[in-house]
Amino acid sequence: MIMPEPAPISSPDESASTLEGELVKRARRGELAAYDELVKRYQERIYATIYHMTSNHEDANDLAQEAFIKAFQALKSFKGGSTFYTWLYRIAVNKTINFLKQRKHKHHFSLNDLDFNTEHNPDLVALISEKTPHRDAGLAELQKKLNESLLKLSEPHRMVVVLHDVQGVSHDEIAEIMGCNVGTVRSRLFYARQQLQGHLSEYLQ
């Protein structure tokens, strides 16, 4: 199973959007069945975002659950100015960044396993090809190195690179989620990539 596709989080078709609006309305009235549907819709994306930020499954699990609980409690304040998932992402992102600020300097990995398809991904196979100086390095080592490099970035830079390069969220949506302008998102992304390139230079030559 591959983690949520980097498909855009927006652009649901009209009927799906209407259905979601209906679910949100019902959930605001306290219908837990409707909220359950909403959780099922976004659980993988929210979990993945938090997991890629923390590199720890247990933390991601706790934070994802708390984000959904908090969103439910705050549903009454959801005015519909943005889409529900953007609003939900914002809650999850803020919660994660606050958590990471408190956890500072206490990194401990609890990395999820790589799925079966990893070895068949042509991009990754190419990276660990004969041209790669560390061709004997296993995927697990590469995974560890990648996560270590991500954790060296500041939280806002890491968030931007995770949302864009891993989750496939657009610049505009990231700006909305993180409460900054698109220019800031672009510059953060550029800086984050530069930093990552430096940390992972041995794998990227």
């Binding site: 199973m1 591959i2 983690m3 949520p4 596709e5 980097p6 837990l32 909220y35 359950d36 959780v39 099922k40 659980q43 993988e44 979990y47 997991y51 890629h52 499954h57 991601a60 699990n61 994802a64 659950q65 959904f68 609980i69 908090k70 439910f72 409690q73 705050a74 009454k76 304040s77 990395l111 999820n112 396993d113 790589l114 799925d115 398809n117 990893t118 991904n121 991009d123 990754l124 190419a126 990276l127 995927l139 590469l142 995974q143 990648l146 690179v161 995770v162 390069d165 891993v166 550029f190 990539r193 990552l196 390139q197 992972l200 794998y203 990227l204």
Partner: protein, 168 residues
């Protein structure tokens, strides 16, 4: 910019490795159930921080307070202004009291003379002693000349009592 994008192509391919990191099998089967049962257990109603609660009730106030966080100098200026306002209020209040005392010297004098009575005396009685001015803090009645029920001057209300022993 395009050149930069090309430079990052390999990195972006490497980042795809992250998409292959998956939680334990079946993890998402129970995820929503756990969330819903935590909500049912009332966990969501746990005491959130003051800021979080305030955010749902009065978001404008939270934004206002956030301005202080980003500009610490501003909070000093606001605090100074508030202190000045309070001081000004106290000074103005004292001046008003003095003016009121100047207006009502007779009432004070009269009430001092009848100290024992003035503690419990009704404003009407005090008014009678002070020639029609009521020594009351009520601004509506204090400066009103007191009249009787039938519009007669209050002086006629009280006549000096005399006692003439019955002649035998």
């Amino acid at each position: 910019m395009n050149n930069n994008e090309n430079n990052f192509e390999t990195l972006k391919r490497l980042m795809k490795l992250k998409q292959h990191e998956v939680p334990p099998p079946g993890y998402f089967n129970n995820f929503s159930d756990q969330v819903i049962s935590r909500i049912r257990a009332g966990e969501g109603r746990e005491a959130y921080s003051l800021t979080e609660r305030l955010e749902s009730v009065a978001p404008w106030l939270v934004h206002f307070l956030q301005i202080f966080e980003t500009k610490p100098g501003l909070i000093g200026a606001v605090a100074t202004s508030l202190c000045l306002l309070v001081t000004l209020g106290v000074v103005m209040g004292e001046r008003t009291d003095k003016t009121a005392k100047n207006i009502l010297p007779t009432a004070e004098f009269a009430s001092a003379g009848t100290a024992a009575a003035s503690v419990t005396a009704s404003p009407l009685v005090v008014a009678a002693d002070s020639g029609g001015i009521v020594a009351s803090t009520n601004p509506v009645t204090s400066l009103q000349p007191v009249s009787t029920l039938f519009g007669q001057p209050n002086a006629s209300l009280f006549q000096s009592a005399s006692f003439v022993p019955a002649s035998q």
